[in-house]
Symmetry: C2
Subunit: 286 residues, 2 copies
Amino acid sequence: VTGEIRTVAIVGLGLIGGSLARDLAAAGVRVLAHDRDLGAVEDAMRAGVVAEALPEDMAGIEAADALVIALPVDAVAPWLGSHAPRISRIPLIMDTGSTKTSIVAAAERVGIGRCFVGAHPLAGDHRSGWGASRQGLFADAPVYLSPTVGTGPDALGRARRLWEMVGARIVEMDAGEHDRRLAWTSHLPQAVSTVLARVLAEAGISPGELGTGGAGMVRLAESSPEMWSGIFQENAADVGAALTKMEVALGALRDSVVRGDRAALREGLAAAREWRVGGPGAPVDG
Amino acid sequence: VTGEIRTVAIVGLGLIGGSLARDLAAAGVRVLAHDRDLGAVEDAMRAGVVAEALPEDMAGIEAADALVIALPVDAVAPWLGSHAPRISRIPLIMDTGSTKTSIVAAAERVGIGRCFVGAHPLAGDHRSGWGASRQGLFADAPVYLSPTVGTGPDALGRARRLWEMVGARIVEMDAGEHDRRLAWTSHLPQAVSTVLARVLAEAGISPGELGTGGAGMVRLAESSPEMWSGIFQENAADVGAALTKMEVALGALRDSVVRGDRAALREGLAAAREWRVGGPGAPVDG
């Protein structure tokens, strides 16, 4: 069958790459893998997830039907630049990062636009690394697919099939639109959790003093600093705009609190509640 | 035995009052209860949790060894004002609200300071009402006890025993100190979740578009608007100060994002992470 997926190379066996390797191996796919942490690769081979380790220079990667680069967002473009000649004949190349614009542009720039599809599975949580990876992570999770200007139908078809194999729900979305939306749905919540944790730390509060609700608000603060500083940098304009809106809205609430405006407080809380429970105030999915 | 707890009156069968009624009934205590929602009282009687319904004028409440007023914070002082003569002989009277200063002051004002202990179990979540109540809610949860200037040792001893019966961990704390601390550990996280939900709603995002992490950040936005507008109003000065710190810290993060200052971003994320995981950057519990 044209476009079959029998051998997949995965670079980076963290939460996303590792979980993808587990699901693909469970589906009968032969997984080749590289990680700078050799222990992770050894663990994955012992677990029967990875069939073959790829060396630093990626010799042997040409055998893959698909390549998934599961590295922090700012590591993807340099990796593509270094390895473009060797990977240019692989029929499908994807990344898995939380920003898409600059990565899709880098793929076009190094001449692999035809076989490249930017991918972003909205899965995972505050944990990271091979130790956090697990089978079934992508079941029913959305995966955003952002093609380049020149992505071929064969590459896009393979990309859809690969993510369908692991149970993800495919959402095709232009890279720019993806980054604008994810600034709200993912990057802003992460930033807010981090900032809340810092503010509590400065106030001398320890995490153990928080109730269930408060503890849930700082869970994301445990996320990987390396990964997230890259995401914020890559999506600076959109994240900056979202943060500004958050500051303004916090200021408005503070104003109601300080003025003792009970009606405004009740109204603001009720509007938030209605949105969250999908009541009449909930916006239609745009 | 002096100070035994055999009959407890509970006013308000919501998440807190209802759960307390369930635990006490399970421990063999006779529970008398009132709720403006007669259906909740009927359900609680059918469930064998409430032995007797108290009428609007609270006739019969004098039989209780302890009275727990589990109403929204701003409803407690008016309730005490209306019912002070009838309840003045009950050996222990407590509320369960998230703010303590004004409630403790109200108890002193109406002349029941000797038998009054302000109580705040840090339990529950975004849910509310009798339907959300459950047995075991207070197991291992902190309960803050704030005495009045004149709370007698008998009342305080009873309060400790009552909360120990339901498995709570007792933390005695002056009412003012309680409100200053809770502004950070509980009221600020609630405010931030509400504001984040409103910002996402305004950006046209629907709750279903959020990943696991983002969804966890807006869960508290589902909390009762009536209850929380009262808490924000009662603790306006401390909550206002906490919100100001949050705005300033968000502005600092935005500044790092917009300047593309990777080192500052990484450092801020790492500091938040260390605090959350209890690493070397974690403050000592004050």
